[in-house]
């Protein structure tokens, strides 16, 4: 992957990048790979079922060759099911990353649009309930009531991958001022 330099892009440019794709396409691929994995697991079981009977009353080189010859198809299906599950996870991760960044933008927009009169004073209930519900915002202590100048909104980055994503995308939520 190319090392992307997002610093210096405007919020609009970042928004356009985040919303210029189609995460549903990755979700569709994820669902199809998951279904493929499920079908392949069933095929492996279907093909393995008679293999047990091959050993009943039949031993020797020919029996082993038969089991090996037939069994490889069940083994392939089983291994392929595992790889399909991995691919499904990768596709899902792409869609999830976009969703996370989307939430990051929502946070930034909510913070920016929050009325100046709605100050955070250390009380969690004072935070926008949508952010509190998402367990994203934790108010930071305000240095002094009525202090002038930019004040950082308290956003706890330690627990929330969404915030980390937002920062990775260049959204400086921590530096959005009330």
């Amino acid at each position: 992957m190319t090392d992307q330099r997002l610093a210096g892009l405007s919020h609009q440019e970042l928004w356009n990048l985040a919303h210029g794709g189609d995460p549903a396409a990755a979700t569709t691929s994820q669902a199809n790979f998951s279904r493929t994995a499920q079908v392949l697991e069933n095929i492996a079981k279907t093909l393995s079922a008679p293999l047990g009977e091959l050993g009943l009353g039949w031993q020797g080189q020919a029996a082993d060759a038969a089991r090996g010859g037939i069994g490889q198809h069940a083994q392939w299906a089983e291994a392929a099911a595992g790889r399909a599950n991995t691919a499904a996870g990768q596709a899902g991760q792409q869609a999830a990353e976009q969703a996370a960044i989307d939430v990051g933008f929502d946070i930034a927009v909510m913070v920016v649009e929050r009325p100046r009169t709605q100050h955070i004073d250390g009380d969690v209930e004072a935070v926008d309930p949508r952010l509190a519900r998402a367990n994203i915002i934790r108010p930071a202590p305000i240095e002094a009531a009525g202090a002038k100048g930019p004040r950082p909104i308290g956003v706890d980055t330690t627990l929330d991958p969404v915030k980390v994503k937002a920062v990775a995308c260049g959204i400086r939520v921590l530096d959005v001022y009330a």
Partner: protein, 117 residues
């Protein structure tokens, strides 16, 4: 998906006669389960559009689709080839069944001829 179930060596496959119908049934079922997946071709597994417009997402989509559906080594192609191998095994099982049946018929004919003589 690796394409490593070559099916080679099955030309010498020897089976007990009573196992052939069970194996044919299993392989026929496997093929029927697989067919809806292979009918979809590459479109179902590939990511049609990147999740975002940034370069990483675009590159991820390109790399993912090479493995998923676009290339000769792709999962879609591997599934297609797997289906062909299952069909090949089914045909082979049919040939073995036919050989047994034919052999039985010939044996019966020979016994009948001997008994009648």
């Amino acid at each position: 998906m690796a394409n490593n179930a070559s099916g080679s060596g099955q030309g010498n496959l020897k089976l007990e006669p009573h196992m052939i119908p069970k194996l044919r049934e299993a392989f026929q079922s496997a093929l029927e389960q697989l067919q809806p997946l292979t009918r979809g071709g590459q479109d179902g597994l590939s990511i049609s559009k990147p999740a975002m417009a940034d370069q990483s997402s675009v590159e991820f989509r390109t790399a993912f689709n090479k493995v998923a559906g676009d290339g000769p080594e792709s999962a879609a192609q591997a599934l297609t080839e797997y289906g062909q191998r299952l069909e090949s095994v089914l045909k082979q099982l049919g040939d073995i069944q036919h050989a047994y049946d034919s052999n039985e018929h010939q044996t019966a004919a020979e016994l009948s001829r001997q008994l009648g003589s």
